[in-house]
């Protein structure tokens, strides 16, 4: 599906399905990016992020980035752009509610400059964006309804941001708040590195290097923030993505084992069974 829609309030939505693409550009607006199948590589500054269907990517207004798709199967990418006025409106009403509810005057979202990262694409966000996409794919465009969907997607993003950034900052055991913020910024670098390179052999030293933390420091703080070790996080990512491949492709299991970076099928099957209480083959047959 390919379309590019600009609404009357300058919000934009586009969808594209392609196997090869490379472009460098600036974002005109605050953007939320998705892929519904395959993967897309983003280069932002010196960071390289790979977007998979279980994550979404935030790009702020004016960010320069290069995005690249190079795959045998077509990749379905989807993007929402939010006009500044729409964002401002939203953020005013959101803060109003928040103030009423929590009786405080802080503007919590976008206090920090590292919001441009990968977030888990799950829960209500997934349902709402999926509905919006289904609706857009049909080719009928009621702008009020599209804005309603976009409003809710933004609401869901704020909730996720709160969980992924604020709650994590709170959970770090340092006295100084600016230390907590800085540590989380670095931990996020480690996390996005794991998410983007999950199918490679990643050594702890590499990871620590990437996050500008010492190995010990990384291990300790990673666990505080994400309640699991980097290794556990990596295994979990591999399993989720293997599950996705089992669901959406007919690749043989041996192939999937290689694609998600496991060394041997038997350890993959064992871990998969431990986590989902079903073997990969039975899981695929049960669909």
């Amino acid at each position: 599906m390919r379309y590019n829609k600009t609404l009357r309030n300058n919000n934009t939505i586009w969808s594209d399905t392609t196997s090869h693409k490379q472009q460098t550009q600036h974002t005109n607006d605050f953007n939320i990016r998705f892929v519904f199948s395959g993967d897309e590589v983003y280069n932002i500054g010196r960071r390289q992020l790979t977007l998979y269907p279980d994550q979404f990517l935030i790009l702020n207004k004016g960010t320069q980035y290069t995005s690249k798709i190079d795959s045998a199967n077509p990749v379905e990418s989807f993007s929402m752009g939010f006009d500044q006025a729409f964002l401002q409106d939203f953020s005013n009403s959101w803060q109003l509610n928040e103030r009423k509810l929590l009786d405080k005057t802080s503007s919590r979202v976008h206090e920090y400059d590292f919001s441009e990262t990968l977030y888990p694409f799950k829960g209500d966000m997934r349902f709402n964006v999926q509905h919006l996409k289904d609706y857009m794919d049909k080719g009928v465009h009621n702008e009020m309804l599209i804005n309603e969907y976009m409003h809710h997607s933004l609401l869901n993003y704020y909730t996720i941001y709160d969980q992924e950034i604020y709650k994590k900052i709170e959970s770090l055991k340092f006295l100084n708040r600016s230390t907590k913020v800085e540590i989380l910024r670095r931990l996020n670098l480690a996390k996005e590195y794991l998410l983007s390179n999950f199918n490679q052999n990643i050594s702890l030293e590499d990871l620590a290097d990437h996050a500008c933390l010492s190995v010990n420091h990384l291990l300790r703080t990673f666990k505080q923030a994400f309640h699991q070790s980097p290794h556990q996080f990596l295994m979990q990512t591999r399993l989720t993505r293997a599950k996705l491949l089992l669901k959406t492709t007919n690749y043989p299991i041996n192939e999937i084992v290689n694609l998600v970076g496991f060394e041997c099928p038997s350890s993959f099957i064992r871990l998969f069974k431990n986590r989902y209480e079903i073997t990969p083959l039975k899981f695929r047959c049960s669909l």
Binding site: P53, D54, K122, F127, Y135, L145, E148, K243, K247
Partner: protein, 111 residues
């Protein structure tokens, strides 16, 4: 509440499907009509005017239905909001019957 449930099961031949928490701390019993077309939730506590019953309309896209019903001039008592069961909007008819438009969402499936 018992009386209400008996009214539906006895007179209208509804079946009790399950008990669930519509809202935190608001237990409700869900009863279903014989042909499974209608679901009614009966709450323990009086929450809205004098009605303890609430008619549940299931939908696969709450926002879309909300939008179209609103365009028809229907006034919602509660805008779409998120609950443990999913996305829910509420409205009443002229005789104060309470309707809940529920899109049930399964949050356990990670993909």
């Amino acid at each position: 509440m018992e009386e209400q449930v008996r009214f539906f099961t006895g007179k209208l031949k509804f079946r009790v499907v399950k008990k669930l928490d519509l809202y935190p701390h608001a237990a409700a019993t869900l009863v279903q009509s014989d042909n499974a077309d209608v679901l009614v939730a009966i709450a323990e506590n009086r929450e809205y005017k004098n009605t303890k019953n609430c008619i549940i309309l299931s939908t696969d896209d709450c926002l879309k239905d909300y939008h179209y019903l609103k365009a028809e001039g229907l006034i919602f008592t509660k805008e779409p909001h998120y609950l443990p069961v999913g996305l829910v909007a509420e409205f009443t008819d002229h005789s104060d019957n309470r309707f809940m438009l529920i899109e049930e969402r399964n949050y356990n499936d990670d993909l």
